[in-house]
Structure formats: C-alpha cells, structure tokens
C-alpha cells in the first residue's frame, strides 16, 4: 500500500459532515492507525481510530443513559486529555453541544460560563475541577450531572450526581446492548448546520461571549486548511494549549478528524517541553510567547557553553541568518553556502531542533499576537517551517495563512481558502468565509455588532493589505489613538517592538490624548537575571533588579532603538517613546493585569498605576511612587510600595524624507 497523499486521504465532508460521522468513517479507513496518544504512567498510551470509535459510541450511550438529550450543553473542564476530546464527540453523537471551559478559570469565572451556556452535564478532569464545580453547583440550577475522569481523591465523594468516566462507559455498554443502533440513529440525525461547539472568548473587556460554531464552520474550515497544507494521517500533533481555545479545537479536533492524524497529550503541564522532545510533532502550533521563551532559553543556555562551542554556534547561526530562510523557501543559494549550511545542520541546527523537539516539524504555526521578526526568522533559518496565521474564534480560526515560500515576518499572509478579506474605511479588517460563526449565544446585539447581514465579520483589528497582497495588522482598531498633536498612536505596535528585545518581557504604551508617548516596561527576569549574574550584579528580588541603574541603562538602549525604528516608518514616526519606567513587579494574570491568554489589560493597568502615569506625564518628575496589591509567586498576597525611576528616551527627529512625505 502506498502512503496516502493529502488529496486522496481527505474524506468527503458532504457525506461525513459531523464529527461522529467522521469518526465512524476514520475507524474504517484508518483502522489500526493511532488516533490519540497520552503520556500517562511514563509511556505514550495509544488508541487507534477504531478503538476510539468504539469508546465514543459507548460513551455517547452512557451519556444518553444518564439523561443527556439533543440540544443539551456539556461543559468540559480540564487539561488536554484524550477522554475529554472524546467527550466532545460523544456529546455530539448524542446531539448535545460541547462547551469547553478554560481549566484554570476560577470558580466565579466558570460559574458565569456554565450559567450562561445553560449547562446540564459537566465533564471534569480530576478532583480539583470537580471541587470547583461542586462549589458553584448550588447556584447552577441547570447543572445536573458531573462526570470525572481521574478517580484519585474522589473515591469517597458520595454525591449521587457524580459519575466516574468508567461507570459511564459501563452504562453505555449496557445501553448499546439494549438498544443497538440507537447511537447510529442519533448520529444520522445530525447535520452540517447543527451546532458543533460553543467556545467562550475570554474577552479583554466585559463578560465572555459564547461563540456558536456549526459543524460546517469547523469541518469545512479544517478541511480547507488541511488541503492547503497537505496534512496527512501520518502527521503527529501535540495538544497542549487550552481546550477551550478555538485554535486547539481546530488543530486537535477539526483537522485531526479530517486529516486523520494522531493527536498526543502531554503528561502534565510541567513536562510539556520534555514530552514535546520525545514526541517530535510534525504539525505544531504555539503562540509567539512560547517561541520567544524557547529562544530565550536557547540563548541563555548557550551563554554557559564553552567558548569554542559558543563561537561555533554563533558562526553557524550567522550563516543561517544569511541563507537559512532562502534554503527553506527553495530560493537559489550558492553551492558553498549550501555546503556550509549542511555542516551547520549537522553541528548546530539539527541538534538544536532535536533538543527542542522541532526536528520533525513540517508545518509550524504561530498566531494570536505579533511575533518578533528576529524570533520568527530564527526558527525559519534553522529549517523549521514556521508560519504566521491570522484568525479569530469567529472565523473558526483561519482568516489568512502565510503561503509556503511567500513568508514575510511583518505580515500574516494571504487569505485562507474560501476566505474573502476587506478593509473598512476606518482601517478595520473584515472577512467573510464558510467558517464564520453562527451567532453569539443569547446575545443578538453583539452578533449584530460583529457580523453584518451579508456575513462580513468585524475583526476589531486595524490593518491593511500591502503591495504583495499580504495582510498586515497594526493594532486593535479601538486601541489605535492619536496624540494631542494628531500623530497616529498604535500602542500594541510599539509594545511589540519593545517586547522583541529579549530583555523585555512585557511593555505597556500610553499616549492617546496625551502630548507624547510613554511606556511601562517589564524586564524579563530570566534573561536579565542571567545577564546580572554574568556581570556580577547582586539582586534579591525582581523589584531590586528592575530598579538597578545598569538595568535602566540597558533598557534605555532598547527604547532608543525602538524610537530609531519608529522614526523610519512614516505612519508611526510621531509616536516615539519620550519617557519610560521599569515596573517594580511583573504584570500578572492573577492580579488582573493580564488576560488569561497573557494579553495586557491596558485600561486596568492605567487605573491601577495611575500615580505612575501621572508622573510619566509630569515632565519635572524624576520618579513616581506606587502602592499596590500584588500576588507573590506562591500565591500569597502582599502590598507593593515602591518609588520608581523615570527615564527620558532619545527622540529621533523625523527624517527629512518622512517629513517631506507628510
């Protein structure tokens, strides 16, 4: 038998238009091939498609036996586990709608989602999640049944609404024995327009919204992307990002079921990197933050290598920078360079990719935020086919993808198959595609606000299509503001430029309706700490390190460099950073300063650090004072009381050309 190719292996999604139908089909066409793996008890416990099929059919029957009815909502709470993915399909088979919930959300956040989605059944990973659910159950009249996967610690829970996964499967077996063919019949009732899944967007402001996506949305979009990228049943992917995030749903469910590849779950969140290395996925997604962290670790670890090794490393990395991307994109390169690159592959790139677990990556995606061009090019230059995509929950992810061989660090690529893109007057990006969501659950106003009658969706991002036909995103449309002198101020754009420096972890820029642009900077403890160690700078805490004059010097250099960059781009040259300070604490999701997806909550921060902002805009002030509540690493709360130095950055006067252009 010859290896299946992409085109031949993709199923007919008109016939197999729901996940249960796809599963049944896969169990037949991919019999014996692994469908999912889970690192558990030290080894990768594998399940084949036919085994999954049998399990899910029993599971669905068990759920029905417990009273799950068509149209019910099933909440899924936990880390990535095959059984939780199976829950989704089992629920769909029974005609219910799975609603994955962020596993790290606190009981209150969870309460909102569960109440809003009118959840009847909840499936939890372990005791921790069960406890959380039980603690809010009293206030959730609709929640009737809770099913848990890991039995540890739950043995003595006697609530009659609690069921173990195994007991549900047991019920299912009995049910299927009693009523054979019942599940198949239920599955046949499902169609492409039925709701496949409801995911709640974390939402930077206001309460989360439940995005309703149909089978058509997800399966068609997944198929399009699979076809475009040539994904095969032999591919390997790792599911380690929150299940409640649409990206994971598309990659680990949609594309997995359509292309038929195997999705593996790591052992625990601490072992992700080790597991990644063992598994060696060929299809890999990670947000820029992770790529950035990996690169930072690479650089820090290399600092400790011997001199010779460091030299060799930097020599080959320089070479890769020069020709690596060209070689990856198949552009002609001189034979000598090729040979040298081959040597580099042997001594540096190959081993490096191997240690990072990236050596088998055929297609790597990053999205969600802008990725630093240096970081992006680093991975590409060592031969990892990393690409950016632009997407949203409302589009079932794919809006644009960077096509192979046409990859630019500063754009997010061209429209994905069957996607149309338009730029509104205001500069906002609009799109229309088969993946466009059905509605926001129980929120017609918001639906109307976002989706026009003819199916165009407002992304809320400002951007433009460049001369190469690639989409370029500048910032959130609503965040783009104006300085008092009228110059354009795109905070995210500036923050990203700052964050591309390895020593800077996080940045927050201010400037709308102000005289000039100013910024808070969070240093990267790991990178700066290692730098401090090498330079013999002693520090006892983050706060102390961030207040160190030499650290200020270093960051000042970065800010000046950003200003230099900004000055060369006419659109943003007016919003150079005039004053900045180093925050004495890390911005933290636990303190509400970041969203759970680690995005800066600018408004909240502005409020919380108001005295500092005042000081930034008081040009006579050399420092600002701040008192605030903080959460320590071990979860204890404490108070922060600090005086923070403020520095002036070098403003580059706008170059004559840029001035002339205006």
């Amino acid at each position: 038998m010859s290896e299946p190719t992409a085109a031949s292996s993709l199923p007919d999604i008109v016939t197999y238009n729901t996940f249960p139908k796809l599963l049944r089909h896969n169990a037949e066409r991919l019999r014996g091939r692994p469908a999912s793996r889970e690192k558990n008890y030290g080894i990768w416990q594998s399940c084949t498609w036919d085994e999954v099929y049998e399990e899910v059919w029993n599971y669905a029957a068990g759920l029905m036996d417990l009273g799950l009815a068509r149209g019910d909502k099933v909440a899924i709470v936990g880390d990535n586990r095959p059984r939780l993915y199976w829950t989704m399909v089992a629920a769909q088979a029974a005609g219910a709608v799975p609603v994955p919930v962020y596993q790290d959300s606190v009981a209150e956040e969870m309460h909102f989602v569960l109440e809003h989605a009118e959840i009847r059944f909840a499936v939890a990973e372990d005791q921790e999640q069960v406890d959380k659910l039980i603690s809010i159950k009293d206030r959730l009249p609709s929640l009737e049944t809770i099913i848990f996967d890991e039995t540890r610690g739950l043995r003595d829970y006697t609530h009659d609404f609690l069921h173990s996964y195994d007991s549900v499967i047991e019920r299912g077996r009995a049910f299927n024995g009693r009523e054979p063919g019942r599940i198949d019949a239920e599955v046949e009732k499902g169609g492409k327009d039925d709701t496949s899944v409801m995911v709640y967007t974390s939402g930077t402001t206001g309460q989360p919204k439940g995005v309703v996506l149909s089978f058509e949305n997800i399966i068609r979009t997944s198929r399009n992307a699979c076809e475009r990228e040539g994904l095969l049943p032999t591919d390997e992917a790792m599911a380690y990002l929150p299940m409640a995030w649409i990206g994971d749903h598309i990659f680990s469910m949609g594309q997995c079921y359509v292309a038929g590849f195997c999705v593996s779950c790591p052992e625990s969140s601490e072992t992700v990197l080790t597991d990644l290395r063992e598994l060696g996925p060929s299809y890999f997604f990670a947000p820029p933050r992770i790529f950035e962290n990996i690169l930072t670790t690479v650089m820090i670890r290399m600092e400790d290598a011997g001199r010779l090794k460091r030299k060799m490393f930097s020599y080959f990395m320089d070479h890769a920078k020069r020709v690596g991307v060209d070689i990856l994109d198949g552009r002609p390169v001189s034979a000598g360079d090729k040979l040298l690159y081959g040597l580099g592959e042997l001594f540096v790139y190959g081993p490096l990719k191997n240690v990072l677990g990236l050596s088998r990556v055929r297609i790597g995606y990053t999205a969600g935020e802008a990725i630093g061009p240096d970081i992006f090019q680093f991975y590409r230059s060592i031969g990892v086919n990393l690409k950016q995509l632009y997407g949203s929950t409302e589009a079932a992810v794919f809006v644009t993808i960077q096509p192979n061989s046409e990859i630019f660090a500063d754009t997010v690529g061209t429209p994905a198959p069957e996607v149309e893109i338009d730029i509104a007057e205001s500069g906002e990006v609009l799109f229309r595609s088969p993946g466009v969501f059905v509605e926001y659950f129980k929120n017609p106003e918001a639906t109307k606000e976002t989706k026009t009658a003819d199916g165009w969706v407002h992304t809320g991002d400002a951007g433009f299509i460049d001369e190469r036909g690639h989409l370029k995103i500048i910032d959130r449309a609503k965040d783009v503001g104006r300085l008092n002198d009228g110059s354009l101020f795109a905070p995210k754009y500036i923050e990203n430029k700052l964050k591309f420096f390895p020593n800077i972890k996080e940045a927050v820029a201010f400037g709308h309706d102000q005289d000039y642009c100013a910024a808070f900077v969070n240093i990267d403890l790991e990178a700066v700490g290692s730098w401090a160690e090498r330079n013999g700078i002693a520090y006892a805490s983050y706060q102390e390190l961030a207040a160190h004059p030499q650290v200020y010097e270093m960051i000042q250099g970065a800010v000046d460099q950003v200003n230099q960059d900004l000055s060369s781009e006419e659109r943003v040259a007016g919003s150079q950073i005039k004053r900045f300070l180093l925050l004495p604490k890390m911005l933290d999701a636990d303190d509400g300063e970041l969203t759970r997806t680690s995005k800066v909550r600018r408004g909240f921060i502005a409020e919380k650090y108001e005295p500092l902002i005042t000081a930034l805009y008081d040009e006579s002030a050399k420092a600002g004072k701040i008192e605030s509540e903080i959460t320590f690493e071990d979860g204890r709360k404490g108070r922060l009381d600090a005086t923070v130095d403020i520095r002036e950055a070098k403003i580059i006067s706008i170059s004559p050309q840029a001035a002339a252009a205006e």
Binding site: R37, R277, E278, G280, V298, G306, P351, N354
Partner: protein, 358 residues
C-alpha cells in the same frame, strides 16, 4: 549531536525498559557486534586475535563478574584471580573425568564450582564490610593459590605442577588445544562472552540488580525494606565468581593452553580490579572498556619502541610498562574517578544535549 531522539517515543513499557531504548545506541551496538563477529575475524591476523582480542574478551568477562560484586553490590574483592583459577582447575578436572562431554559444556559448568567457592568466601560479608571484607577476600586468594600449588590432585599429579589442555573439538572442528585455530577459539570466546554479557545486562536491570544496588547504596535501608542482606550478597558473590570461573576456564582452554599457580595470583586479582575501577564501577560497558584499556596498554607500550624503531631491552620495557600503567591509573582516577563508563555517559549526555552545555 549524533543523538537525535526526537520522535523516539515509547508506547509500551517493554520498549521503554529495553536495554537500548535509544535508537542510536541500538545501532551502535549492532555496529560493534558486526565488527566483532564479521570484520575482526576477517581483517585480524593470529597475533591480533591471540594477544589482543581473545584475552581482552576473557578479561572483560572476569571484569563483569567483579563489577557485579564490587560495582553493583559494593563488596570489594581482591580474590577474583583465585576464583578464575577455580574455574580453570574445575574445567581441567571435568575434562579429565568426562573427556567425552563437550568442552563448552565443561566451561559453563566449571563456573558453578567457582560460584560455590565464591559463595563460601562470601559468607564473611554478613558481618564484615568495606576494606575489612577486602582483606577477607585476600584469604581466599592466598588460600586458593596455596591449594592450586599444593594439592596435586588438582593438576592430576603432573610433574610440572601445571595444567595442560589437550585437543577438543566441536562438530569435528578443533576448538581447544594446540591444533585449534585462533580464529575458532576467538569465535568460541566471543559467543560465550556475548551470551554472558547479555545475561549480566538482564540481571542488573531487574529485581536482582536492584537488590544489589540497594545493598550497595545503603544496606540498612535495603534491609528495612525487606531485602535480606546475606542471600543478596551471597548471590552477588556466587554470580560474580561464576563469571570469574568461566573466564578462568576460557583463559586456560581458549587462550593460554596451559596454566599454573602464577596464572591466578594476586596480581591478576588486581588487574581485574583495575579494569573494573578504570572502566567504571556499576557498569557492564565499563567492564569492557576497562578490560580493553588495562589489557592492551602494556601491549601497546611494548609495541611502541618497535614502532618508533628504538631498541630497548625487554626488561626495560617491562619496567616501563609497570610505571606507565601505574601512572596512567592514577591519572585516570584523577581525571574521572568513576571511570570510562562515566566518561562515556558524560559524553553521551553532552551529545544528547548538544549544542547546549546542560
């Protein structure tokens, strides 16, 4: 660097607990076996086989034996030369009494005699530890030396006091004695050593190996989790001496062709101990590396004057060999007290993490 482990994930415990779970190691092993079984006999002349390959293998086997006792179980022994002798003399007596039984069976059987003697001399380990035990094992060494020399029955009342090997065949091919080709003897030795090495690997990775190591690392704790110390130590003594015994039998029957008391004197005990220490305590691989190094160092040193065309008296070469061996042993102990095996382990770790330092 050469280790590319990404994607080598294990889906069963069987695969996870294999002797060579890393594919590259597995291939390396196949390469080494290929060399030993195919290339070496093809390209090596009799001198190489006789003076290098065969003795190296035999000593490696003895070193594995001692390593099981000293490296894995933590019981120092200075008597393994004597245990080798037991194997050799036992084999000699067996062949005298049962000349029709195949020599290979005798060789395997003779190990059991050594094991029995090892068992007896292991008894003091119940009460004695460390250097005290080492001195106790000297008792066995000197007693056995004395026995080999004084008990005429052992050497069939020969006038020479030595044991000599007569011709033995397997499938009508001479495999021992004067008429046996070195390459034939090499294959016999190689096959036996390969087999027993595999056995040793199985033993040390399983329950018995863990018992031994537990006793080595902390005997009190081992006792308190239910490991009976004496049986565990005695088993280690027996298995260890079994290996020494087989090695001794091989030494006489597959290599030297004859032996006397001096072939098993205390210097041989030291030699094997060196192999184990320099090779690496608690490592089967180390036993081979140690044997290769310690055995071939003098061979190399003897060859050097010839190679560079300097004519030095045999006595001088002998003295130089002693000095250099002694100095190198000290040197290696200083550089890496845990032996070549650790050196290899570190190198391998570096290669696995390459280009990172840790």
């Amino acid at each position: 660097m050469l280790y590319r482990e990404t994607g080598q994930f294990k889906t069963t415990y069987l695969a996870d607990m294999a002797i060579f779970p890393i594919r590259q190691d597995y291939f390396l092993m196949i390469g080494i076996l290929l060399f030993a079984y195919v290339i070496a006999p093809l390209v090596m002349n009799d001198f190489w086989l006789n003076s290098i390959m065969i003795p190296t293998m035999i000593f490696a086997l003895a070193a594995i034996g001692l390593n099981i006792l000293t490296g894995y179980t933590g019981q120092l022994s200075l008597g393994h030369g004597g245990f080798m002798g037991v194997g050799a003399y036992a084999c000699y007596k067996l062949t005298s009494y049962f000349p029709d039984v195949n020599i290979i069976i005798h060789i395997f059987l003779s190990g059991f005699f050594a094991a029995a003697v090892g068992f007896v001399f292991g008894l003091p380990s119940l009460r004695i530890k460390g250097f005290y035990l080492a001195v106790a094992t000297l008792a066995s060494q000197f007693f056995l030396e004395w026995a080999f020399g004084r008990i005429a029955w052992l050497y069939n009342y020969n006038d020479s006091g030595a044991i000599e090997v007569s011709s033995r065949t397997l499938f009508d091919i001479p495999i021992a004695g004067a008429s046996a080709e070195p390459v034939t003897r090499y294959f016999v030795v190689l096959a036996i050593v390969t087999f027993l090495t595999w056995i040793a690997l199985n033993l040390v990775r399983g329950r018995f190996g863990r018992c031994w190591m537990a006793v080595r690392d902390m005997d009190i704790a081992a006792e308190l989790i239910g490991i009976k110390l004496l049986p565990t130590k005695l088993l280690a003594f027996s298995v260890s001496s079994y290996y020494a015994g087989v090695a001794g039998a091989l030494m006489v029957f597959m290599w030297l062709g004859a032996a006397e008391v001096e072939s098993f004197d205390i210097n041989h005990s030291f030699l094997i101990l060196f192999m184990v220490i320099i090779g690496g305590l608690g490592s089967i691989l180390g036993s081979f590396l140690g044997a290769i190094f310690i055995w071939n160092l003098p061979v190399l040193l003897r060859a050097i004057p010839d190679m560079i065309g300097v004519n030095i008296g045999a006595a001088t070469v002998e003295h130089m060999t002693f000095m250099v061996t002694g100095a190198l042993i000290i040197f290696f102990l200083i550089v890496e007290p845990h032996g070549f095996a650790r050196l290899w382990q570190i190198t391998k770790e570096k290669l696995r993490l390459w280009p990172f330092p840790y």
